[in-house]
């Protein structure tokens, strides 16, 4: 039932000023995101050498660099490419949660609730439009959230999730702006580091990478690159914006 229906949410819920006025435009967006965009994410997970039964953290130096975008993009692409595999995205940024809002779902129960209960709450695993993709929002609120990600409970929960899913992606907090960033990254088998072009400096990136075990680092994604130089000029000088 779900597979043949695409839901068009209220434009205001997406923060869009211009409404998706026609079905044609909405369908074009959907096709772009699912097909053209997929190839980009496909390239990322291939080069990051993601494997099954792995827990992968997606982190960055500062907030707003596109961790969640990359995390969701990779997750949804893998979920489509491997329909028999079970993929889970866990939102571990307890201070700036966005998943519940983006997906239009209730915040609770989520990660915080699981950690407080010290067990995996099945309702915290939210189904998505893709049959094999689940998300776990941050949940909450909790008075303990400052230290929840530093307790042994999180390790137990992650191991539990690893057993239940073929791939667990942790949408981790920013390393330099959130003290939970490095501990969450250390829970994962691998870390994909996201750098938004024009945001963090090279010094900040290096400083954040110093907090990540080099053996865990699967690679860095330069996100949202953009060039304003006309193509003819780039050809003339022989450079690409990447």
């Amino acid at each position: 039932m779900k597979s043949d229906v695409v839901l068009i949410p209220d434009p205001n819920a997406l923060g869009l000023r211009a409404p998706l006025s026609t079905a044609k435009r909405a369908d074009r967006s959907r096709r772009w995101l699912l097909r053209n965009g997929d190839e980009l994410f496909r390239g990322l997970y291939t080069r990051a050498k993601l494997g099954w039964s792995q827990v992968i953290a997606v982190s960055s130096a500062t907030a707003g660099e596109g961790k969640t975008t990359v995390c969701l993009g990779i997750a949804s692409t893998i979920a489509q490419d491997f329909p028999e595999r079970r993929i889970l995205v866990v939102e571990t940024d307890l201070y700036q949660p966005v998943l519940a809002g983006d997906f239009g779902i209730e915040e609770r129960p989520g990660l915080i609730d699981c950690l407080v209960a010290d067990r995996l709450l099945q309702p915290a695993l939210r189904p998505t439009n893709l049959d094999n993709l689940w998300i776990m929002p941050s949940g909450g609120p909790s008075a303990e959230k400052e230290r929840l990600l530093r307790t042994s409970r999180i390790e137990g929960l992650v191991e539990n999730l690893r057993r239940q899913f073929d791939l667990v992606l942790l949408d981790a907090p920013a390393i330099l702006t959130n003290s939970d960033g490095a501990p969450v990254a250390s829970l994962a088998d691998g870390v994909i580091f996201v750098v938004r072009a024009g945001m963090a400096s090279a010094e900040q990136v290096d400083k954040a990478l110093a907090d990540i075990d080099p053996k865990r680092l699967r690679g860095t994604v330069l996100n949202a690159t953009q060039t304003f130089v006309p193509n003819w000029l780039r050809r003339l000088f022989g450079f690409s914006h990447a």
Binding site: L44, A202, G219, L222, F228
Partner: protein, 351 residues
């Protein structure tokens, strides 16, 4: 580095180009909208002082015109002379307030030009907002300079007359004593003069007589020279008192300008200078944007330890407004892979 500058330029192109575009436009608009000025000028013929050379302030190594130009320019820096000039114009009403005095200073600083145009000719030129003001100021400067020059010359001439009078008195005394000595020598040496009053041949060989005769002639010549100088000084005083300064003649009297001055140079130069300034400002802005941006913008700027695995171009979902901000793609992905359970606020599309 070229890449960085190109990126910075095209990323902030309107901001970078703004000074180079806006500044010349503003300056051109201001230049064209400014009222056209009116020019008036006068030519003054000046001479070197002919008496009291030792006490004259004339520099003998520069021309009279340069000398008087320097003098007039110096006078224009004095409050009393400027006040005298202003009193002769319609600007006099402005003297009572500080703002008015500032305005007067600006009017003179911006519009008045005093230059030598030869060895003896000075030109006084003024550019004013109205033809009347241009004429008034040039006339006032010339008149004031004439008055002050005449006053100075009168003063100097009177001093010279006093000096020459004393000199002449001494010279006349010397002539008198020389003549007396000569007469006495004749009296003691009657053989020097014949019955008819002519000198005898013996007089020609009398050394003492010749000496006394030369002294008398010298004293007389000296007295004559001093008398001539004194007459010149008396003439200067008389001329100055009559308003006709000798050595100061207005050859070209100031005239009322009938048409505004065309300012082709100003119209071209000011916007060109503004363009140059604007370009400089643009270059500085570009430098600031290029060197001030220390963020990572390409894989080449990542350190080797970052192990770059890919580049995600800035995604903009077609059909979705850019105003959705940087989270629009994340929201789009969430929307596509969104929960089928709780999103129920929009329309449904069957595919």
């Amino acid at each position: 580095m070229t890449t960085r500058f190109l990126e910075a330029f095209f990323r902030h192109r309107w901001l970078v180009l703004a000074p180079a575009l806006i500044v010349p436009l503003i300056v051109a608009a201001l230049t064209l909208s400014a009222p056209a000025p009116f020019d008036s000028s006068a030519g003054i013929w000046v001479e070197r002082s002919t008496y009291l050379n030792l006490t004259s302030d004339f520099n003998p190594y520069i021309t009279p015109a340069q000398n008087q130009t320097n003098r007039l320019n110096e006078l224009m820096r004095s409050r009393s002379f400027v006040a005298d000039v202003v009193d002769r114009t319609s600007l006099a009403a402005l003297k009572s307030t500080a703002a008015g005095r500032d305005q007067i200073s600006r009017v003179f600083a911006d519009g008045l030009e005093i230059l030598p145009a030869g060895d003896h000719l000075i030109t006084v030129h003024f550019r004013g907002e109205t033809p009347e003001l241009a004429l008034e100021v040039v006339s006032a400067v010339v008149a004031a300079f004439n008055t002050w020059s005449a006053r100075d010359h009168t003063s100097q001439a009177k001093t010279a007359i006093t000096f020459y009078t004393a000199q002449l008195k001494d010279a006349d005394a010397r002539v008198g004593s020389a003549n007396a000595a000569l007469q006495q020598y004749f009296a003691t040496n009657p053989g020097l003069q014949a019955q008819n009053g002519q000198l005898t041949a013996a007089a020609a060989f009398d050394a003492r007589f010749n000496e006394l005769q030369r002294a008398g002639q010298n004293a007389t010549a000296d007295a004559d020279r001093i008398r001539a100088l004194m007459r010149q000084a008396q003439l200067d005083v008389a001329a100055a008192q009559a308003g006709q300064e000798l050595g100061f003649q207005i050859l070209d009297a100031p005239q009322l300008p009938t048409t505004p001055t065309r300012q082709v140079k100003k119209i071209l130069i000011y916007p060109a200078a503004a363009l140059a300034g604007g370009l400089l400002l643009s270059a500085l802005l570009l430098l600031l944007f290029a060197l001030g941006d220390r963020s990572v913008r390409s894989m080449a700027e990542l350190s080797p330890q970052a192990a770059a695995i890919g580049v995600m171009p800035r995604l903009t979902a077609k059909g979705m407004a850019r105003s959705g901000g940087p989270a629009i793609v994340r929201k789009g992905i969430s929307f596509v892979a969104g929960s089928a359970v709780t999103v129920d606020t929009g329309a449904r599309l069957k595919v």
